[in-house]
């Protein structure tokens, strides 16, 4: 019982510290307990400036293991994001401090700042999502606009990507599900013919 107790004491302190700190300018919006449970939290971060994610608001799903802080928290994106180090399907994040480089003296605040920094500077050589990573390496402009399109669509970013919006509308008009269309078009490099083949084989 003592270990989870200790984890909860620490989480409470961490929550209080994020609340009072002037972290908003660093991109951290909030950290809250989900339904009053200290082992399942929700974090909110801002997309970093001068990145395709600028202006977007990203929700993080944070699970606290019983061995916390001796084991790292389990963090993934609840908001869909187009990024080489984040799975476009599950939101899983590839970040060293969430795995082997975790240290007990790190905090959830450290984690959120690191994730925000990761959004601003992707590491394509250590990809979580192979499709996104290869696009990032081979077609940077298409990557940027796809990431921007996802930011507008899922994270309430203000910028618009009209030509992508149009392609989606075109296929939705053909009777396909909108979110399937977005995913499939993104994965097919916005080639409508390829996306059609995947969505309706034969």
């Amino acid at each position: 019982m003592s270990a989870p107790n200790m984890a909860f004491n620490r989480i409470q302190r961490e929550l209080a510290e994020v609340a009072k700190a002037s972290d908003a300018e660093k991109g951290i919006v909030s950290l809250e307990a989900k339904d009053g449970r200290l082992d399942h939290l929700t974090g909110v971060i801002k997309g970093p400036p001068s990145s395709p994610y600028e202006g977007g608001t990203y929700v993080l799903d944070i699970k606290i293991p019983p061995e916390y802080p001796f084991k790292p928290p389990e963090v993934k994106f609840a908001t869909k994001v187009w990024h080489p180090n984040v799975s476009s399907v599950t939101g899983a994040i590839c970040l060293d401090i969430l795995r082997t480089n975790w240290a007990a003296a790190m905090t959830l605040r450290t984690v959120m700042i690191s994730i925000q920094a990761l959004l601003g500077s992707p590491v394509a050589d250590d990809p979580q999502d192979a499709v996104v990573a290869s696009q990032f390496k081979t077609n940077r402009s298409l990557f940027d606009s796809t990431a921007k399109y996802w930011a507008t669509t899922y994270a309430d970013a203000p910028s618009e990507v009209p030509e992508m919006k149009e392609k989606v509308a075109q296929m939705v008009a053909m009777g396909f599900n909108e979110s399937d269309v977005r995913d499939t078009l993104s994965w097919s490099g916005w080639d409508v013919a390829k996306a059609l083949e995947k969505l309706a084989p034969e």
Binding site: A3, N9, R10, R13, E67, K71, A103, A104, M106
Partner: protein
């Protein structure tokens, strides 16, 4: 020991092979060394000198090295041990690298010590659990970072539970200093966790020390030391298992550890493609009657038509005389022609394939060629082991019935031992040759391989004839086999040395087959 045994005195040969077919050394203290002495003055390239050690003796070796470094550098035992592990137990390197750049990492500056002391003067907050503790309840690692004792305990426990021993780093977020054994001993309180930690760090000490090796058998607590560590055969004197000193897997010379690992992976990965090879029956190439192979010898005589042929390539055995022996060589030209012929047939259906040489198909053919020979020698080895066991039993009975003395039958057992040894060597020459680049050194190796293979098939054939054999002829074959085994191993060693030098000369390592000495994974 009879004289002339010097070559074998401190190597595995005799013990190992006796273990192979379950005889006791007193009954069969064999000595084909006498016969072989004249043919080859050089030491056996497979010979290996090592001693076996108990758990306690290994601990003592570790302790001595740790004490040496600890005194030289004035460190804690835990830090000294970590440094030795990082430097693979080279005490000289350990002392030197420490002086060059490690000092700051392990010995906190006076300032850091002072700062921590003053902070923890009365009460301080542990930055892991966020509770305020008295100075007595805080514990400082060698790096100067201080956390409360109960946090250290929980942390160490969770790290040990994950299987860690060496390489548990400080809890501070920017510090990667490894925690020393003495610190763990002091702050990890749970008994079973402590025991597990000790086991883990002991294993790391053995594995990081190139001169030490441990028996891979489960629960066999036996260790080995060699002053000239090499990927050679060790036979455990406690459990009789035999393995490679460096990587602990089945003894695999002339292949180096990396090559054999690569080969095993390929064999596992391609298990489906090649499953048909391990068949025990084939049709006679002359009269097509079905023939089952139940001996190790690959020189077969059809019962129906008396045609003599080679089990591996199904060619006439006459073409397998030492001078023309080509059964071991993969003929890329012939294989390419066969593939091209097959492709020609295929063009009728798939016209696209016309101008493309079927590279993948050719690569597969090459692999299957080597795999078949590898598997075949393995199968022969098992069958010949059985044969030798039978012969051994028969010899025992004859001796009991006073039909001649043991000495009269020893030549047969000697021949059997040599046969098994060479058969195993031949088996492992195939993965070696598979990864060998084309060129003169490959041609020479395959020539030596062919010579040994043809001698061994003749020897096997002779032994299978059993009681009515010609002792003089047998001994001539044995001399030839032993001579050729040594020549083959010497050549393989030279190829590996040359390859290792090439790697050293080229700035970056390339895809060459062998590094001379392989590091444990």
């Amino acid at each position: 020991m009879a004289e002339g045994d010097d070559d074998y005195y401190d190597c595995y040969d005799d013990d190992a092979d006796e273990a192979d077919f379950a005889t006791t050394s007193e009954e069969l203290n064999l000595d084909f060394g006498v016969n072989l002495k004249n043919i080859d003055a050089d030491a056996d390239p497979e010979a290996f000198s090592y001693t076996s050690l108990t758990h306690e003796e290994v601990k003592q070796i570790i302790r001595t090295a740790v004490e040496f470094v600890r005194n030289k550098l004035n460190l804690s035992t835990g830090v000294a041990k970590n440094l030795l592990i990082e430097n693979r137990w080279n005490t000289e390197d350990t002392v030197q690298t420490f002086r060059q750049d490690e000092a700051s990492k392990h010995v906190p500056s006076a300032f850091a010590r002072l700062r921590n002391r003053t902070v923890s003067e009365s009460m301080s907050e542990c930055s892991v659990c966020y509770t305020t503790k008295t100075r007595d309840n805080m514990a400082e690692n060698t790096c100067g970072h201080s956390f409360c004792a109960s946090c250290w305990n929980s942390y160490l426990e969770s790290q040990v539970a994950e299987g860690k021993g060496f390489g548990i780093t400080c809890m501070d977020s920017k510090c990667d200093v490894n925690i020393g054994e003495d610190f763990v001993m002091e702050y990890l309180t749970d008994g079973p966790s402590l025991q597990k930690y000790e086991r883990n760090i002991f294993r790391t000490c053995v594995e990081s020390n190139p001169s030490l090796s441990h028996c891979p058998t489960n629960n066999c607590d036996n260790y080995f030391f060699s002053s000239q560590p090499d990927s050679k055969r060790v036979v455990c004197d406690k459990c009789q298992s035999s393995f490679c000193f460096v990587c602990g897997s089945e003894y695999h010379l002339p292949c180096c550890c990396r090559t054999i690992r690569q080969w095993w992976k390929k064999v596992m990965d391609d298990a489906d493609t090649s499953s048909y090879i391990s068949s025990h029956t084939k049709d006679c190439p002359n009269c097509e009657s079905s023939i089952e192979k139940n001996g190790g010898c690959n020189h077969l005589i059809c019962r129906q038509c008396k045609y003599e042929f080679c089990w591996v390539c199904l060619e006439d055995w006459k073409s397998h005389g030492a001078e023309y022996y080509v059964c071991n060589r993969f003929n890329a030209k012939k294989a390419a022609d066969a593939v091209a012929a097959a492709a020609e047939v295929a063009t009728v259906v798939i016209p696209l394939a016309v101008n493309k040489p079927n590279v993948r198909r050719l690569a597969l053919n090459k692999y299957l060629f080597y795999l078949e020979r590898w598997k075949n020698h393995e199968q022969s080895l098992r069958l010949e082991e059985n044969l030798m066991n039978q012969i051994h039993d028969r010899v025992q009975k004859k001796v009991q019935n006073r039909e001649g003395s043991l000495i009269d039958w020893q030549y047969l057992m000697d021949a059997g031992k040599l046969l098994l040894k060479c058969r195993r060597a031949l088996q492992y020459t195939y993965p070696f040759a598979y990864y060998l680049e084309d060129g003169p050194s490959r041609m020479l190796f395959e020539h030596l391989q062919a010579e040994l293979e043809s001698t061994i098939e003749n020897l096997s054939f002779t032994i299978e004839q059993g009681d009515k054999l010609d002792v003089a002829a047998l001994q001539a074959q044995m001399r030839s086999a032993e001579f050729r085994r040594r020549a083959l191993f010497r050549d393989a060693k030279e190829i590996k040395t040359t390859a290792a030098q090439a790697i050293l000369q080229a700035a970056e390592p390339q895809k060459t087959i062998c590094s001379f000495q392989t590091v444990r994974p």
